[in-house]
């Protein structure tokens, strides 16, 4: 029983991270209809930034969010202004090719700059605490709560502020939004900025728990894809739900299947993806807009 509870807890914590990790990918797709294949690379950029700040100034990876997020916001804003806005009205393939190219460029530039050696941020508090008979890994628990608060803040922003409303308007009907005077290019650029900032933050929070290296991104892009399909497009609760389902599945299979559990966990998540696409292609929670209308 304890083992089951512990596994559920680990899955939940992993799921919270997945939720914030996938959010940027999901919203860019939901709002603009762009599948960002460079998603994992932006995550990697955030992780490296946290690592560099830690190495240079001894800055804690959670404290470095204050620097990582604004920098990544600018990266995202410029990316959208300079590159993505030019291809967004073109056929989907263009955006795919552009982001694919960006992912290759970023990974290889990082390889040249930082070399391929795996990095890690050895924070002093990466142990665990025992509570109610369960083991709480400190860093992952922190990540979980920071992730939740980020989602909550973003949710408030999208629901309550004028800018947030115009982002939702642009997602629901681009032409109507234009007619009522929303400056689409600017809204898109801000959306991309927020999404890339979130992705960078996820990377920075990942840095104490994992090896950081230039080619770490691709598996995350694939995972983001699975979670988005599970949870529904461009929705915060969907991202969280999808993330938790994937996290729990992976951890439960890894914990209870002897010998090949960890292998199987990865396979199962993709089986889930296929089943989901067949049974409920719009995701568990219906998206920011129905998938059929995504242009």
């Amino acid at each position: 029983m304890d083992k089951l509870l512990q596994a559920l807890l680990n899955g939940l914590l992993l799921g919270g991270f997945y939720g914030v990790m996938v959010l940027g990918f999901s919203i860019i797709w939901g709002v603009m209809g762009v599948i960002n294949l460079a998603h994992g690379e932006f995550l990697m950029m955030g992780a490296y930034m946290a690592w560099a700040l830690f190495r240079a100034f001894g800055l804690d990876p959670f404290a470095s969010l204050v620097i990582v997020m604004p920098v990544m916001f600018i990266v995202g804003y410029l990316l959208q202004r300079l590159i993505l806005n030019r291809v967004i009205e073109r056929p989907h393939l263009m955006a795919l090719l552009v982001t694919f190219g960006i992912s290759i460029s970023i990974a290889n530039i990082y390889k040249v700059v930082y070399t391929a050696s795996p990095r890690n941020v050895p924070v002093s508090y990466n142990g665990s605490v025992e509570l109610f008979g369960l083991t709480f890994p400190i860093v992952k628990t922190l990540v979980f709560f920071v992730a939740l608060s980020m989602m909550f803040i973003l949710h408030l922003f999208l629901q309550r502020t004028r800018l947030g409303k115009s982002i939702r308007a642009a997602a629901q009907n681009k032409n109507a939004a234009r007619i009522v005077g929303i400056e689409i290019d600017r809204v898109y650029a801000i959306t991309a900025g927020i999404c890339i900032a979130l992705t960078g933050a996820a990377g920075a929070m990942l840095s104490p728990t994992q090896a950081i290296f230039p080619f770490m991104g691709a598996p995350f892009t694939l995972k983001a894809f699975t979670i988005t399909a599970l949870g529904g497009l461009g929705r915060i609760p969907g991202a969280l739900l999808g993330g938790i389902i994937l996290g729990m599945t992976e951890v439960l299979v890894a914990t209870f299947v002897p010998g090949i559990g960890t292998n199987l966990g990865v396979a199962v998540s993709f089986v889930l993806l296929v089943v989901m696409l067949i049974v409920r292609p719009q995701g568990l929670l219906s998206g920011l807009r129905p998938m059929e209308e995504v242009e």
Binding site: K3, Q6, A7, N10, L14, I35, L37, H92, L93, L96, F100, S103, I104, A107, N108, K111, T115, A116, S117, P118, R119, N120, P122, N126, G127, S128, T135, P137, I138, V139, K140, T209, Q210, A211, F213, P214, F215, A218, P219, T221, L222, F225, E250, V251, V253, A254, T255, P258, G259, I260, G261, T262, N263, G265, V266, L277, P281, M291, E292, V294
Partner: protein, 425 residues
């Protein structure tokens, strides 16, 4: 949804083929350099300067980018030495300069095999040097065998490589099955009784793990659980929490550098403290200590070579002298992957000189007859191409330093055992 379906297919296809960069040729610089040295030595001797052309597919990008870089630098250390100091390989009465053509195999066995085929058929190399990792060596050596080219390698330790009856594959390093031998013996002597084992399900870690189970049985250690995980694993906490419940004396983890980081992080996170952690690749690399910090203390790891070992040969002097030369060239201390790559090229070099010929058959016979002592240790191939002369060392990280604790004849410090719980450090 209909419109998205082709996109999904494309997306998956793109991601699956998401190879970071097209293969690049780095031989331009080496060619340039060799022409320069050719001109210099051309003035000294009247004989025409000839070139031996070697080829290697080594990872520059992908999962093995780090180890691939060490491998490349190891080969280059030898090439620079042989061309600039040694004066070229002596074949009969002639001196041959060396040129090495490199391609980036991207860590992918199929790409590596294709590139090696290209090296043989288009670049017409005389001999092949191995890639990094057993899985890449496996695919490329099959191509070498098909074209009857000698491939000598120092980075594929999996024993299955030498069970295929190939005539043209030689390896200077200790085979994978013996990686954990000296470490497990030492731990058994310290009183360890039980062990758990986790390994990546690719050629080399599998060989290490099978060897570890064999040696465990030999030394009376009970294996409580065995777990495998996939190549690009991002989370091993499932494995570690299973192991925690078993409360073993020894944890053995077999994989590559990234996995070593994950194992240590994950063990500390869930407070899993076996009496010893023996991790296959990583601990012996100085960057491991730099990245993991204080948590790297007490971790054990096998090592093919350390600069403190007492080996000495007529070519690069002692292990320490080799290390200094390497540091001067590359600005970083040599990993054992780098040393074994230099030793690989050196073994080929000596065999060519002994054979007095560049013919495949003559050089193969010379390799089989080879029995030399080098900075890397003794090299003596058995009929399958494995180096049976060299023992494997075990290191432990003590006070941030990598020290050899086994086997006895190479040890410079006592093992610290058992390792204290994470929260009591």
């Amino acid at each position: 949804m209909k419109r998205l379906l082709p996109l999904l297919v494309l997306l998956v296809a793109l991601l699956l083929t998401a190879c970071p960069s097209p293969s690049t040729e780095e031989s331009a610089t080496s060619r340039e350099e060799s022409t320069q040295t050719e001109q210099q030595s051309g003035a000294e001797s009247s004989s025409e300067v000839k070139v031996i052309r070697l080829g290697a597919a080594v990872s520059e990008t992908g999962k093995y980018a780090r180890e691939g870089k060490d491998t490349r630098q190891g080969y280059e250390t030898w090439r620079k030495w042989v061309n600039e100091e040694y004066g070229g390989i002596k074949v009969g009465n002639e001196r041959y300069k060396v040129e090495i053509i490199y391609y980036d195999d991207e860590g992918d066995p199929d790409t590596a095999a294709r590139l090696v085929e290209k090296l043989i058929t288009e670049d017409k190399v005389d001999f092949l040097l191995g890639p990094y990792s057993s899985s890449l060596t496996k695919s490329t050596s099959a191509i070498a065998e098909k074209y009857n080219k000698i491939m000598i390698e120092g980075n594929g330790a999996s024993e299955s490589l030498f069970e295929r009856g190939f005539k043209n594959l030689f390896a200077v390093l200790t085979p994978a099955g013996n990686y954990t031998q000296s470490g497990l013996k030492l731990l058994a002597d310290q009183g360890a009784k039980t062990m758990v084992l986790a390994y990546e399900d690719t050629a080399f870690p599998t060989s290490v793990a099978e060897g570890a189970q064999r040696w465990a049985q030999e030394y009376g250690i009970e294996v409580l659980a065995v777990e495998t995980y996939p190549k690009d694993v991002a989370d091993v906490s499932g494995i570690m929490s299973k192991f925690k419940d078993l409360n073993p004396d020894i944890f053995v983890g077999g994989g590559h550098f990234n996995d070593a980081l994950l194992f240590v992080r994950s063990a500390k996170e869930i407070n899993f403290t076996p009496k010893a952690m023996l991790i296959t690749v990583g601990p012996s690399n100085p960057e491991f200590v730099a990245e993991v910090g204080a948590d790297a203390e007490y971790i054990l790891g096998p090592t093919q070579w350390e600069r403190t070992m007492s080996w000495k040969g007529p070519w690069f002097g002692t292990a320490e002298e080799y290390a200094q030369r390497y540091e001067k060239l590359w600005g970083e201390p040599p990993t054992y992957q780098a040393a074994e790559s230099t030793a690989t090229a050196l073994a080929l070099h000596v065999a060519i000189e002994n054979a007095g010929s560049l013919e495949t058959d003559a050089v193969r016979q010379a390799l089989l007859d080879l029995d030399i002592m080098t900075f890397y240790g003794p090299i003596n191939f058995d009929e399958t191409g494995k180096n049976i002369a060299k023992p494997m060392g075990t290191i432990q990280i003590q006070d941030g330093k990598i020290v050899v604790v086994a086997p006895e004849e190479a040890a410079v410090a006592e093992i610290r055992y058992p390792m204290p719980p994470w929260n009591e450090r």
